[in-house]
Symmetry: C2
Subunit: 321 residues, 2 copies
């Protein structure tokens, strides 16, 4: 019985991905040519949105902290969150997976299943990939979406807009803090970190009326800072209005600290931040947390300009796991 | 003076890429939204071709063997070769780069310049990316092409087609053999391995008349095997007709061996293999090396079925560098 990828070789790995894809998408919509040729070919009328994002073992995850399925699912989720944050509909995913030769087939299958399940949940298809050997796992993915409507950028916020968020803040960062402390409860915080489930439809509904939108991956204040700078206006938040994740509150209690930092600067929640011309245009599921006002591109928390800790910076900070 | 990427952080790395992109493409064709938002948005009428490919340090390259510029250039070339092999026009590239915090800015700039230069040569634009820290360099890229015409697949060869190759065989593998032996001459072999320059226009011209085509990255016989199996016919090659690279012949002489294995099974030449309905339809620049005949999907060298060494297999073989 083969146990590790060295037993089945590159061709065996590719065959396993192809089988999983055939099972998941016996008829793939909008795919003219799928896996197995030099490139995949997708129907695409008007415009496409494309984004790439990676997960590196020891930097973004540890295999002893999160399941293979969670790593695969999170990789796909990060990419599709970027696509819907532009108002584009997810269509396809490409996967580049490097891993050690002693990676177990159980881990590989879990990872593939995670990628496939989240890609299906996003309404897209896995159409291509590349695999190679490496000393540890590094997985990159590229998501492609149909952007035939108007794209919603980071640069569209206008003074007078209301600022809103599509979910609860701080859960993912609280899960990471628990894992770093050697804990695995509360489970909701761990799951928020390990397997984010972006609400793709909610982001697409928001895109109909939003002036600007961003996937919240670097932390609330940091990502709103991207909108503020790109749009050339200030965003003034009411701290008390920011919806705080119950999981983060529970995790804070377990760890004997407050959840404030996770809520304001914790990354990887993969909820959506957007500005809308009027409060009446904010879709159900979003919570208004402030307003856009004239200014040079700063974020305010109540009556103070935010000058606190930024999100995680690769190279300058130590790995986050 | 900053010397390594840890000195400039993730934001500094991204800023360097953005500067290089602004210099290279002050006005990027077909790009509605480029670097700097959640996703890039490209005009795409009808269909797009997408492919992904990676280079892993210690597996696909060694930093002491090839320059940073060559690594970047080769990464882009591998991806665009896959796009034109489908008959699609290169439009965009996305880059995921993981590297150690002590990577020098000189290496980073060389790598970016290599990616940008080859992307320009392919007629495309660098529109997005992702960067993170890792214990060694791993770079993945995804190329996107305009596939609004008919796509040329691996599955279109028909008995009666002529088989042709767009360049000289064996140069890249001979360069790798020289480097593995501690040599750095002849320079043409080293360059073929380090910085392949696929003839994108020639592949696109071939796509007008070819029944099937593939980027030759896994070795001549291996890649023709992909066409034979996908098409359900045999390909019968005339060994004497296969154009042998002068660089490979010189390298063989230096190393005191023959170049046969490099010519037949050496990878990474990034020339194009195609079948055409008639010899008169083979474009200038291609050399006819055989015919497609009825059969179960085998490759013949003269009167023998090829049953020799396949190309490099990740996981099953040791790293190729």
């Amino acid at each position: 019985m083969p146990h590790v990828v060295a037993d089945i070789g590159e061709a065996g790995v590719i065959a396993r991905v192809r089988e999983a894809v055939s099972r998941a998408w016996p008829n793939a919509p909008h795919v003219r040519i799928g896996l197995g040729d030099d490139a995949a070919v997708l129907e695409m009328d008007g415009a496409c949105a494309v984004a790439t994002d990676s997960l590196v073992e020891g930097v973004h995850f540890r295999r002893e902290w999160v399941s293979a399925q969670a790593v695969g699912s999170k990789l796909a989720a990060r990419n599709f969150a970027d696509i819907v944050a532009m108002g584009a509909r997810p269509r396809a995913l490409l996967l580049a997976l490097a891993m050690p030769a002693d990676t177990t087939l159980e881990w590989l299958d879990g990872f593939i299943n995670g990628v496939v399940a989240e890609t299906m949940r996003a309404g897209a298809v896995l159409v291509g990939g590349d695999t190679s050997v490496a000393p540890f796992v590094m997985a990159s993915a590229t998501a492609i979406g149909d952007a035939c409507g108007t794209s919603v950028t980071r640069a569209g916020a206008r003074a007078g807009d209301v600022v809103a968020v599509s979910g609860l803040c701080g859960a993912a960062a609280s899960g990471l803090a628990l894992l770093s402390a050697g804990l695995s409860e509360p489970a909701s915080a761990i799951a928020a970190y390990g397997s984010p489930r972006p609400d793709y439809s909610l982001a697409l509904r928001a895109a109909d009326t939003a002036n600007s939108m961003i996937d919240c991956s670097d932390g609330l204040v940091n990502d709103l800072g991207h909108i503020a700078r790109a749009s050339g206006c200030d965003l003034r938040l009411r701290a008390a209005a920011i919806p705080r994740s119950d999981a983060a509150v529970q995790a804070a209690s377990v760890l004997g600290r407050t959840s404030d930092e996770w809520v304001l600067t914790g990354g990887e929640d993969h909820i959506f931040l957007a500005t809308f011309p009027r409060a009446a245009q904010v879709p159900e599921g979003f919570t208004v947390i402030g307003d856009a006002v004239p200014g040079p591109g700063q974020v305010w928390i109540d009556d103070q300009v935010w000058a606190g800790v930024a999100g995680y910076q690769h190279f300058a900070d130590t790995p986050r796991t």
